[in-house]
């Protein structure tokens, strides 16, 4: 039959209060197996309290070649940062 198992991306929440973070990928036939394998591979030393898996083909990614047009426009917008606004030193709690 010879059919390769699909790839899944694995996200782990290290403890409650933190977000899930991408840790790697693995092969599995369905989501249940993906979670079981993720548990065995990525949480052998109590690295997590929660696992998300998503089949890799469902992830859409931005193209690195479009990096400039996507991200450069934010470069010259210093007014989006608090330090852009000059206030006298005696003003507190701001």
């Amino acid at each position: 039959m010879k059919k390769e198992w699909p790839i899944w991306e694995v996200f782990i929440r290290t403890k409650n209060g933190l977000e899930h973070r991408h840790v790697g990928s693995l092969h599995a036939t369905d989501s249940k197996m993906a979670i079981e394998n993720a548990r065995d591979v990525y949480t052998r030393r109590q690295e997590g309290v929660s696992i998300w898996v998503v089949e890799s083909k469902y992830i859409s990614a931005s193209n690195p070649d479009n990096g400039e047009e996507l991200f450069d426009p934010a470069k010259d917008k210093a007014y989006r940062h608090p330090t852009f606004y000059k206030l006298p030193d005696e003003v507190k709690h701001m």
């Binding site: 010879k2 198992w5 790697g24 036939t29 369905d30 197996m33 591979v41 052998r44 690195p64």
Partner: protein, 315 residues
């Protein structure tokens, strides 16, 4: 094309990390696939000499430690295969390259593990040498490879410590046990030094790999570092490395060491080591005999998915 390559080199020189979807020279891609997959295969084949001793571990404590180490190695193989797959090669292709002999794995795993002391020597020396190499690779230029290395290094420090502890226990034991530890050191010392690969002058890939920051230190540099680190550890054990030419060189600030038998190295790389056939057969059998399981899992998943679909349509 020329310009793209120049821009790529400039990114590398600036210390930038390359991610899978970034433009890269075809040779950079191929070199990474070759090196990462060779590394992955080594983790997987590396389970075999140790697997030999699970059922004969001398205590439950040693057994659970060895099992945990071997389980880690399976995981490390998986991290590395995943990193290689981001470069556009499939897992099946990678396995196929191993099984047909097109891809290599570390030649050290073609030596037999004859006594329990070998579990000590492997953890201490083989994992020790691997860690030296891997610490360097945590800063390699290809992101997924570097990230896999960070994870692996974190997990692997226990491997070396458990091996050294086995050696320490044997060396503090009876005369026969100490001899067993010495014998294991005698057999594993030279192959461990060979793990860093051929001398710089003969290493075909080193120069380009250094330029692309795939490697950050040369084979000879890493080998010297390993020797300098390991000799004092052998002294603590009270056993000696099998090298009459080994002595501290005050001027260099390093140990001088004897000639490595590179003929032996190339013989083993080319498939004529003591266990090459046995190791590869074990991998091929596991793959072939597992085929029906893989197929059944796919068939089951498809059946479940169809069922879900039918329910959805009916609903």
């Amino acid at each position: 094309m020329q310009d793209l390559e120049k821009a790529f080199q400039a990114r590398i020189d600036a210390g930038e990390v390359i991610e899978p979807r970034d433009w890269m020279p075809e040779k950079y891609r191929k070199t990474n696939i070759r090196q990462i997959s060779q590394h992955a295969h080594s983790e997987v084949v590396g389970m075999l000499p140790e697997g030999n001793w699970i059922t004969r571990a001398p205590s439950l404590r040693r057994k659970v430690a060895l099992l945990a180490k071997i389980q880690d190695e399976a995981g490390h193989g998986l991290y590395l295969y995943s990193a290689a797959e981001t470069l556009g090669i499939s897992r099946d292709e990678l396995y196929d390259q191993l099984h047909t002999g097109k891809a290599k794995y570390s030649s050290i795993f073609n030596y037999p593990s004859l006594t329990w002391a070998d579990m000590g020597a492997i953890g201490w020396l083989v994992d020790g040498a691997a860690i030296v190499n891997q610490v360097m690779l945590t800063r390699t230029s290809f992101g997924p490879y570097a990230r896999a290395m960070v994870r692996i290094c974190k997990e692997e420090s226990f491997h070396q410590r458990q091996g050294y502890e086995i050696m320490l226990t044997l060396c503090k034991g009876t005369e026969v046990q100490k001899q067993m530890a010495q014998d294991a050191l005698n057999r594993w010392w030279w192959p461990s030094l060979m793990m860093f690969g051929p001398p710089d002058a003969e290493s075909t890939h080193t120069e380009q790999s250094m330029k692309w920051r795939i490697k950050r230190k040369s084979n000879d540099e890493l080998r010297q570092y390993f020797i300098d680190m390991t000799i004092p550890q052998a002294e603590v054990l009270g056993i000696t490395v099998p090298d009459p030419d080994l002595k501290w060189n005050e001027e260099r600030g390093h140990y001088d060491f004897g000639e490595i038998d590179w003929d032996e190295f190339w013989q083993v790389v080319k498939g004529h080591g003591p266990c090459n056939k046995q190791r590869l057969d074990a991998r091929k059998n596991a793959w072939n005999e597992g085929e029906w399981v893989r197929d059944a899992a796919v068939a089951y998943a498809e059946k479940q998915a169809n069922k879900q679909e039918q329910i959805a349509v009916a609903g």
